[in-house]
Symmetry: C2
Subunit: 909 residues, 2 copies
């Protein structure tokens, strides 16, 4: 049998930090902490391989596994000085999941395993605390019944009918009968009675006995954790996070220590630096006399770790620093040891049992984008990490988050803060109140921004959290479910807003004295935890000086070009400010949109509705000045940098009125009959417009359309040269299928160029290239490159035609394909490397066979997708082009790919 | 300088028959006839290379060319015993085009070159026939002004304003003033006057003098012929015939002989066998005292060549056999020599000058499909050709023509023949009268069959001839323009219908006493030359016993499989009768079409409109018996042969009612509201349905649809096995993009297979494969072949997505693309080998890398296109699948490709 069990404890361990794949994150880090000499309760990790074996073995533990477990238990017993299932000196254990990648709250945990009629008396004697023992016992029964006996058996009770809910109800009923307000009012007798009642209820509901056998309890716990890898919540989470289903989870069986053994006991979680802002402050929360899940569950508002990090909500509460200074000091030392060892910010869990500190978990902490930026830059200055590592420390998603808007501070001043909570997720958000996950999704589907407002969130809410712009909860701390998830996504989130009450029945929300209904608008400042009862203006968050310094480092490591897709001087300026080195895609169609587009649109329509070439030419003559103006403005901004002008691309029918009313108006305007206009519009309709008359086909069918554009561009260029500017014009032909199309267009361009050069007496230089966006173009790229001086891969269209996926229609297909594991990701978001990617590579290879210095760029959506950029980087693309706000992310993706390549090469050497 | 000039004459020649590419067909065959010792007027051929050089040289003759011409002229003078440009014994020459491939009437000719004031008196003296000389002179001026001075100078006069028309009008005016009825009434004085008047008119209209210089005339003639290669007519013809623009034409300069020198002179054309029926009869027409173009132009109805081939129209006219028996005998000997030399039927032109026979042209003659078949089989029996050559002798188009319908003889008896003409083109035709080429095209565009009815046709009519079902002319013989062109295309054609008169002004057509208007219906029997004044039923023409013998030889040489695309037992039977070896594409959708489809369509609609999986399953259960029935009928016909069943493919919206009325009816029927039905229909609408939810996507989104089909197929198979039959079921998944889709569907199939096997206690065998019709599938074909046991390339869809050409929308694009030389042919008719073809090859290569014995077929339209089939054959496709009526053509294409390959290999060895 493979080695499935790794022990740790007593300053030694069989595993270590870099064995995450095998031991899961939690197990690997517990081992590492032992090796660092930190106080960790002894335990064992059952490997992820064992989970795989368990599933392959039809959900049975591998033969001999339990023998290894009991052998490892003997080691734990020795370290802890207690014995599992021993009547006199019993050891209790916890059983927790731990996957390669953190999946907070998504899998199941059982605590206090080992309590049974055989061991209870001994523990009572040992702790001299019968109340504690019976409280632990009733908790074990509740958890075990829920996790091991119900969920892991695949029983799916109706909502609110689960065993856990029924036992909770019994507890509440008991308390109310006794007139108790809190769980702590329950005395030993109460707890003994409850435990017996719980066991009867379990038998009644689930049909089997709660096992009064410590060894059986442990085996059940291990199986249940493995089983929870494929629980609904876990699967849903993996889908969102892109975690493969076959990784499996490890199981950590660890000696229990108790934070709930009285006022010298406590439990807490902490971050070695502030995970929201990145400040170099020890930051955490703790609860006296509590078990770990009490903090995470957000049921009680926890105390602050130290005085420096107190906030409005917890200023009056005592910090650990104040109440247990010695232990706080010990924790600070541990913080230092861990950061020096991991070179990163860590998220830790600790328990204080009767005055003694235990470390229960450490892992690299999740953080907001701004925190990642601040920490990275700080750690570089502290000498903890090199500058290439700074680049690696910000994920593209975190950088995107940095570019996300925040509330406009100036506008905030004009509005009243009506509620305050903990600043759990970054940025700002404005949206309509959604009281359920479903409502948030509904709003999202309708394109409406929402704020998910909840008492507290739980894993069932993740989809709604994703669909909303921001999250606001009444309860929970900085490490509550809502806070963890929101921060992971860089989503604006405020938790523990005490002034908030929600009446689910009436759909009413009260914040202080302000009343709202679902659908009313709120605004959140996620950095401060402030809530506004109305919309507040939003602004960019890129003025952070660290951001600029960070981008300078990124650009040092970036090895291929980044251009922008921009159609206006404003966008071009923004992109250049973000580091764009040129325009990879200028879409002239933009000039027809919006208020300013009305005039040129009218001319364009005249062109489209013309009956003869003469009429068309006349309309084009009137249109040309607008094209010139549009091109000139942006060419000026891009002075000295390339601007790739794509010839008019969309099908003409997109520009003619579709409703009878509008058609009548146009008819009147043009002196045509309504029937004529209608007939012309109908003639332009196509069954599959994506594969119809557009792109270069327009220029072949109506050469005068291309001619006009060439004339506008060359005369603009000539004028700019005369003004002393340095325009770098690149003309790009879209939708090309063969070289004959390019030759046809080039002949027109050459003729117009000669005319304009003669007219202006100026020498015009430009590059003539093409988009490669039809599969055939990649196949005949060698011939196309005879004329094209550059290629720009239009991966949007190329994806459509390579997969036969109409972008307008795939919403029906792609989600179901992903769900059925037919495809791994949306090919319009992340490049289909195996299919579309191969065509791109083939196109580049063939093109460069003809023209070795052929410049190849990418200007589809994928040009802004980090995963796709990595692929392009490794395969010889010269530049990617993306929207202005994606520029920093694209730069980062290139830099990271380049650093990883360098590291890999170093390792190979 | 390259050798641009090749001489021939006096039983010797510098060229020979196999030098067609260089000398053009006419030049090469003139040389060959000299080598065979036949009486050919001496001449020279200026090569096609010279034409290329002429165009490369900006339409100037290469330097030194005229020197070579004059050198060659010296040889001609010696052979002919006369001198060009000599005042005493002048030689006249003709100047004719001659391309690699015959382009009858498409390029220009100038006759009588060399007549000028210097040479006229000598010729008058020599011939002692001043009228003949001046008639020749006025003809030279008319032709030269038209061809050399107007057309070749690029002058494009308005319709009816050309110089030729103006001179013709002058001639007519002169005749009417004099009261002459015919040209032959003109005397020498008249012709002298006319010639002088013509020259003044030419100067007036064209601004330059008719050259009174023999040497200048010849140089002008040569240039004009080269120039006419790029005349409008020639370009249009090449486009239709697929002749490359860069081949160029040769120019033949040949000593003139005159068929118009009196009653011992004549001119004629003949075929060594009957070109319409293939009968082994010498078949031709001739005119006494006429020049060659008089026969071809169809102005006079010509005499029959011999008694055996007289027909109703010319029975009263004298044959050459009767009037000039000695010359007829000489011609018969020549006929024999030529057939023995060429092993084929030849089309010859001859002139008799004052009792002496001259051969002016010979070439392999155009023929109808049935003639080709008859001649091929006859020549094989005569030992002239081998059986592989028989296969090569029928072009796929001719075989198609054989399969084309003829008038139903039984039905013909019920109708009255209202007119008779020459049976110039094969088959039968029924259609509406079109009086102009434009009208015929208009009808064709509207999907209406037409008969083009004309006085006579000329090259300007070719497009209209192509667009019509049949051609009927009032004038012309079997070798008139209409007859030649129609036969080349295998199109039904009747010429020389004397009873026919056309009034273009009123649009009225009279045939005998019957009056018609444009748009009225006629029927033609092209084999007999009979015209009916109403529609006649049509039937197949495949009952010819030669056809069956021919197909047996074809199948002997066929080396890859031919299957059919058939959806009904009837089609399947027809295909098997034609030689299909299986069904390559069975489309279950067919069951929903037509009257019989109404019931299953209702069930299908219920399935589509269902709201839940349960409803959908219930509807599918009701649909299954229909699917079983449809599959069973055809599987029975195909007993022992493979049947490839394609899973349901079309988008569901194709099956739901689109109009409000129909939607209301369906709503009522199903107990739904109209709004519900409308909403469901709208939900199914797609922007680009070609790339939407169809094919395997249906089966992934609604697995129960596939499950039902699997169940129907397997239980049908089980039942047929029980009945003692031998079904070979192949299940084909359409629109696959990756192997996961196949695995998903295969898992369902496997499960259903087990169930059905258990239920029927029968072992079911079947093959599981896929269509390869999305570009991505060709790229990941290696993975797809892990599951697919066969590939069938769906080249229709593959063409759409590889080129981004929506089949429904390309009518706007493809014709203009072909016209602009962007593409050479319609990619939906002839495979785009460079693009789509390469993907097919790549797909096969990758698929066979995984599964070396992977069976690969083609089931798009291209499976029936000979040119595409040749490509598939050479590249390892196992079979092609096409519509039943394309089966013989597909077999022929494969056999021909296979014979050509064998011949090539033999030549290499």
């Amino acid at each position: 049998m493979a080695k499935y069990v790794y022990t740790f404890g007593g300053k030694t361990a069989e595993g270590k930090a870099d064995m995450k794949n095998l031991l899961g994150g939690k197990g690997a880090n517990l081992a590492e902490m032992c090796l660092l000499g930190l106080p960790v309760p002894a335990g064992m990790t059952i490997t992820t391989d064992c989970c795989t074996a368990y599933y392959e073995n039809n959900c049975e533990l591998p033969n001999g596994l339990m023998d290894s477990v009991w052998k490892a238990m003997a080691k734990i017993e020795k370290t802890m000085g207690a014995k599992y299932d021993d009547p006199d000196n019993p050891l209790l254990v916890s059983c927790r999941s731990g996957a390669r990648s953190s999946m907070p709250g998504m899998m199941d945990t059982v605590l206090n395993i080992g309590l049974c009629s055989k061991t209870i008396p001994g523990l009572v004697e040992k702790t001299n605390n019968p109340r504690f023992v019976y409280d632990s016992y009733r908790r074990l029964i509740m958890m075990y019944a829920d996790v091991v006996m119900e969920k892991s058996e695949g029983i799916e009770p109706a909502d609110g009918q689960g065993i856990r809910k029924q036992l909770d109800d019994m507890l509440d009923e008991f308390k109310s009968k006794k007139g108790y307000k809190s769980d702590t009012d329950l005395n030993t007798q109460d707890l003994m009675k409850l435990a017996e009642a719980f066991k009867l209820k379990v038998k009644e509901v689930l049909g089997s006995e709660f096992p009064d056998d410590a060894r059986a309890q442990l085996e059940g716990g291990i199986k249940a954790v493995f089983k929870s890898w494929n629980g609904k919540k876990a699967i849903a989470y993996r889908r969102i996070e892109g975690i493969p289903d076959d990784w499996g989870t490890a199981v950590n069986v660890q000696a229990m220590v108790f934070g709930n053994m009285g006022n010298k006991s406590a439990t807490g979680v902490a971050f070695t630096r502030n995970p929201a802002t990145g400040e170099n402050q020890f930051y955490g929360e703790w609860l006296i006399n509590a078990q770990g899940e009490d903090v995470v569950a957000g049921i009680r508002t926890p105390n602050p770790l130290n005085d420096a990090t107190k906030n409005d909500q917890n200023r009056s509460m005592k910090s650990l620093e104040e109440l247990m200074p010695k232990i706080y000091k010990e924790l600070c030392d541990i913080r230092h040891i861990l950061e020096q060892n991991y070179h990163d910010m860590l998220d830790i869990e600790f328990t204080i049992q009767d005055g003694k500190l235990y470390m229960l978990q450490c892992r690299v902490g999740k953080r907001t984008g701004v925190a990642a930026l601040t920490m990275g830059m700080d750690m570089m200055h502290e000498g903890l990490i090199d500058d290439d590592e700074v680049v690696m420390r910000l994920s593209p998603a975190q950088l995107t988050e940095l570019l996300h808007p925040i509330l406009d501070a100036a506008d905030e001043k004009k509005h009243k803060v009506i509620g305050k909570g903990l600043p759990a997720g970054p940025g700002g958000a404005v949206g309509k109140i959604a009281l359920t996950s479903e409502k948030a999704k509904e709003y999202n589907d309708a394109g409406i921004n929402s704020i998910l407002v909840r008492e507290e969130t739980n894993p069932e809410d993740v989809e709604g959290m994703r669909a909303s712009e921001g999250i606001l909860t009444a309860r929970g701390g900085m490490t509550s479910h809502a806070a963890l998830v929101a921060r992971g996504w860089g989503k604006c989130c405020i938790v523990g807003c005490d002034d908030l009450t929600i009446n689910m029945k009436s759909g009413e929300v009260t914040i202080g004295e302000h009343k709202f209904k679902e659908g009313d608008t709120l605004a959140l400042n996620g950095a401060k935890g402030w809530v506004y009862g109305e919309a507040v203006a939003m602004v960019d968050a890129t003025e952070n000086p660290n951001f600029k310094r960070f981008m300078a480092i990124v650009n040092k490591y970036r090895t291929i070009g980044v251009r922008t897709n921009a159609d206006t001087p404003e966008d071009a300026m923004q992109a250049v400010a973000f580091g764009a080195e040129g325009i990879g895609l200028f879409r002239i169609e933009h000039m027809f949109y919006g208020k300013n587009g009305e005039k040129p649109l009218k001319k364009l329509r005249n062109m489209i509705l013309a009956n003869t070439e003469e009429e068309r030419r006349a309309a084009l003559n009137e249109l040309e000045p607008f094209v010139k103006e549009a091109a000139k403005g942006t060419l000026k901004v891009m002075d000295g940098m390339p601007l790739t002008f794509r010839l008019m691309d969309p099908p003409l029918h997109e520009f003619v009125p579709q409703t009878p009313e509008k058609q009548k108006a146009v008819a009147k305007e043009r002196g045509m009959t309504y029937e004529e206009v209608k007939a012309r519009v109908e003639a332009l309709e196509e069954v599959n417009p994506m594969m119809g008359v557009r792109g270069v086909r327009l220029g072949i069918l109506y050469p005068e359309i291309s001619e006009m554009q060439f004339h506008a561009l060359f005369s603009t260029t000539a004028e700019l040269i005369r003004e002393g500017l340095d325009p770098h014009l690149e003309i790009m032909v879209p939708l090309t299928i063969n070289v004959a199309e390019l030759k046809h267009q080039k002949a027109i361009a050459d003729r117009v160029q000669r005319d304009v050069e003669n007219g202006y007496r100026v020498k015009i230089e430009y590059k003539f290239g093409t988009m490669i966006e039809i599969p055939r173009a990649t196949i005949v790229a060698d011939k196309i490159a005879e004329v094209a001086e550059f290629f720009s891969f239009g991966t949007n269209d190329l994806t459509q035609m390579t997969l036969g996926f109409s972008r307008d229609d795939v919403n029906e297909i792609v989600p179901k394909y992903i769900k059925n594991k037919i495809i791994a990701a949306d090919p319009f978001k992340t490049l289909d490397k195996e299919g579309v990617g191969e065509l791109v590579l083939e196109g580049m290879k063939r093109g460069r066979h003809t023209r070795p210095d052929l410049k190849c760029g990418v200007c589809g959506e994928h040009g802004g997708d980090p995963d796709s950029i990595e692929f392009f980087y490794h395969n010889g693309v010269n530049y990617v082009s993306c929207s202005p706000y994606s520029i920093p992310v694209a730069c980062l993706a290139v830099a990271q790919a380049s650093i990883l390549k360098k590291r890999k090469n170093r390792n190979i050497k």
